[in-house]
Symmetry: C2
Subunit: 393 residues, 2 copies
């Protein structure tokens, strides 16, 4: 038995972790654009990276470290992704770290922003040298890593075990555009003082990523820079594998849901629940097809209970299905029932009401097996076009 | 040797084919919504249908005929797709045809419009009974099959063979939304008087579909109703397989390009040419990823020569690639060259100029093999959202 409590605070509320964010001159108008996470002891670290074939320079830099390396410093910048920058991108990171006057070991860099431009190296060096590593300013860090995000994304939990011991775990993330089922321009830094064995870290990250970050979609694109880092300083002497697995899932789910709610221009966070598919794999294919369909997303934006587009998208995903077995509902309002015409004016009005919420479910019962998967997505409106016609990613 | 000449006229300029379109009361404001193609002799007919698992009732009705059946009548309505309507949808079609007072054999129905509503049967029966089957009003038919199309889509060719004989081939189509790499809400009716052997008809349709209709994308969705029909009355006694294959490709390419140019709200028709991929299959995966990427489409709308999004999308498609071998160009302007920074202010300006055209190429040389594929797509702007937030498909 264990208890998980959401608590107030940032990752710097965890013993031994420090962080801050400053304006280093990468963003205009004095906005924060450079931040750090510092640990006063060496941390174990594990990561999950984008599946994009053009991994950005910071990801390649990280992967040059030996397996099971330890670190005490993560440097994060926004406004420049250091992606598609070749060997120069990696050399730049090494030059930045060798120019810093802090006591750091195996430092990690993480970047988000425009692809294909060289890093503004000197600004980053000057900014990072001005850091006070004893700062505890989680809010500043959460702002410094934002690009087109509308709000910062953080969470913090305390876990109490039966033996009376406890540990904390928290995260800070950025999301918004380019979010898709296989990670996206999303950065998520998770810190914990749990006494987690190194061998559990990657395992539990991998277990949870499938139903959290890999289940969300804003626009179906997968960026070059996606990174989830788990840093463990193990200061608490408290650990239970089941408890950690569960709280890690919560942390990753929280961050994923905040990313969906903050999809560029999105007003609605929608859970696409596919049940009774031929297999879990087929449920996942259909659910992700729904969360990625432009026609579905624009219908949601228009608050149009357009079950035809839902059905058509499932059919187009080519999973095993049959319209005489299909049932489609918005929350508990059934709009299509095995080919019978149930879409009366009353049902249409009730379904339209559901769509006016900023959070709801689209449930598709394929009626052909026991497979299930839930994908999370959002609507797509004018604001998405506006952001992406202008923003040089 | 043969000569292919584009000529003026509609499919009714081909000996023995008749067509018209009328207002039967399905669309508001007196707009045309019901049309027909009639042949004064029986035609061989072959079809290619959507890969969507929920094929609409008209497609199921067609597939109830025996292989190699002949027909003299195609009835087409817009505004209602007769999709997701179960057995009733098929019964409705049979009832409509049995209520017509024309001499028709093995009639074919084709529908486009809103999914999930029962057909307005009586309006269609009344409308079809008012048809004059000796009409030659191709323009009316081309308008009657439009939904969100901005303009009608037709073409006509004459083919002269070395032996002095000649035949004609023409098409009428609708496209616009839901266009994607595996057909979409696109209907295309191709008529010819070529003396084509029945066994060549399906073969040549299938050969040409891959590089024409299956290479275009407006929004990545695949409809329940997509249909390409080839009707051959064989009145000309003229045929050459190579000539027919080539002119059929031209007809299908013409119709596909008009659909891309008329993508909902689209202002730009873009060819995504992937060359030197590891294989043709990989080139196709990458090219279609580009033509379907929201981030690429919105950047094109913003006339932003954003090669970072092009590269990122190729990487995200997970084909074999390497940034030290990748070259990206807009027409002849190289914006990314194997990791070197070539994107100067001058290059950016020149690339921006290319993007102001309403037709251009994005060429991605992966430099890792000899595979090649060209996908065709369009930009995506506010108008797409406007159309699709309002239109009940």
């Amino acid at each position: 038995m264990f208890t998980i409590l959401p608590i107030k605070g940032f990752i710097d509320s965890i013993d031994g972790f420090y962080c801050d964010g400053i304006h280093a001159g990468l963003k205009p108008k004095g906005n924060k654009d450079l931040g750090f996470i510092y640990s006063d002891t060496l941390c174990d670290v594990k990561a999950v990276f984008t599946l994009n074939k053009f991994q950005a320079a910071p990801l390649k830099h990280y992967q040059n470290y030996e397996k099971d390396f330890q670190t005490n410093f993560v440097l994060v910048n926004s406004k420049n992704a250091n992606a598609l920058t070749g060997q120069k991108g990696i050399d730049d990171i090494n030059e930045i770290f060798s120019s810093l006057n802090h006591e750091i070991t195996n430092p990690i860099m993480s970047s988000t922003g425009v692809i294909g431009n060289p890093l503004p190296k000197q600004k980053i060096i000057d900014g990072a040298n001005s850091f006070d590593l004893s700062s505890k300013n989680g809010e500043n860090l959460s702002q410094a890593i934002m690009t087109t995000d509308a709000f910062p994304k953080t969470c913090l939990y305390e876990v109490k075990l039966e033996d009376g011991s406890s540990f904390k775990i928290g995260a800070v993330a950025k999301g918004a555009g380019m979010i898709n089922p296989n990670l996206a321009t999303m950065l998520c830094f998770i810190c914990t003082d749990a006494a987690i064995p190194t061998e559990d870290m990657q395992e539990l990250l991998d277990v949870n990523i499938h139903t959290t970050f890999n289940a969300i979609s804003v626009d179906g694109d997968t960026s070059t820079n996606d990174t989830v880092l788990l840093l463990a300083n193990k200061k608490s002497n408290s650990y239970d594998k089941e408890a950690f697995k569960e709280v890690l899932r919560l942390v990753m789910h929280d961050m994923a849901m905040l990313m969906v709610a903050d999809g560029e221009g999105a007003k609605k966070a929608v859970a696409f629940e596919v049940i009774n598919a031929a297999s879990n794999e087929e449920a996942e294919i259909a659910a992700k097809a729904l969360s990625n369909s432009l026609l579905v997303k624009t219908a949601l934006f228009g608050e149009d209970p357009n079950f035809g587009r839902i059905a058509s998208t499932i059919g187009a995903s080519r999973v095993f299905c049959d319209d005489s077995k299909l049932v489609i509902s918005y929350n508990d309002v059934v709009v299509f029932n095995k080919g019978e015409i149930v879409f009366t004016k009353e049902v249409e009005a009730a379904a339209g009401k559901v769509l006016q919420n900023d959070k709801f479910k689209v449930i598709c019962d394929l009626g052909v097996g026991e497979g299930t998967f839930t994908a999370y997505g959002c609507d797509l409106g004018y604001r998405y076009v506006e952001i992406n016609a202008d923003y040089r990613t």
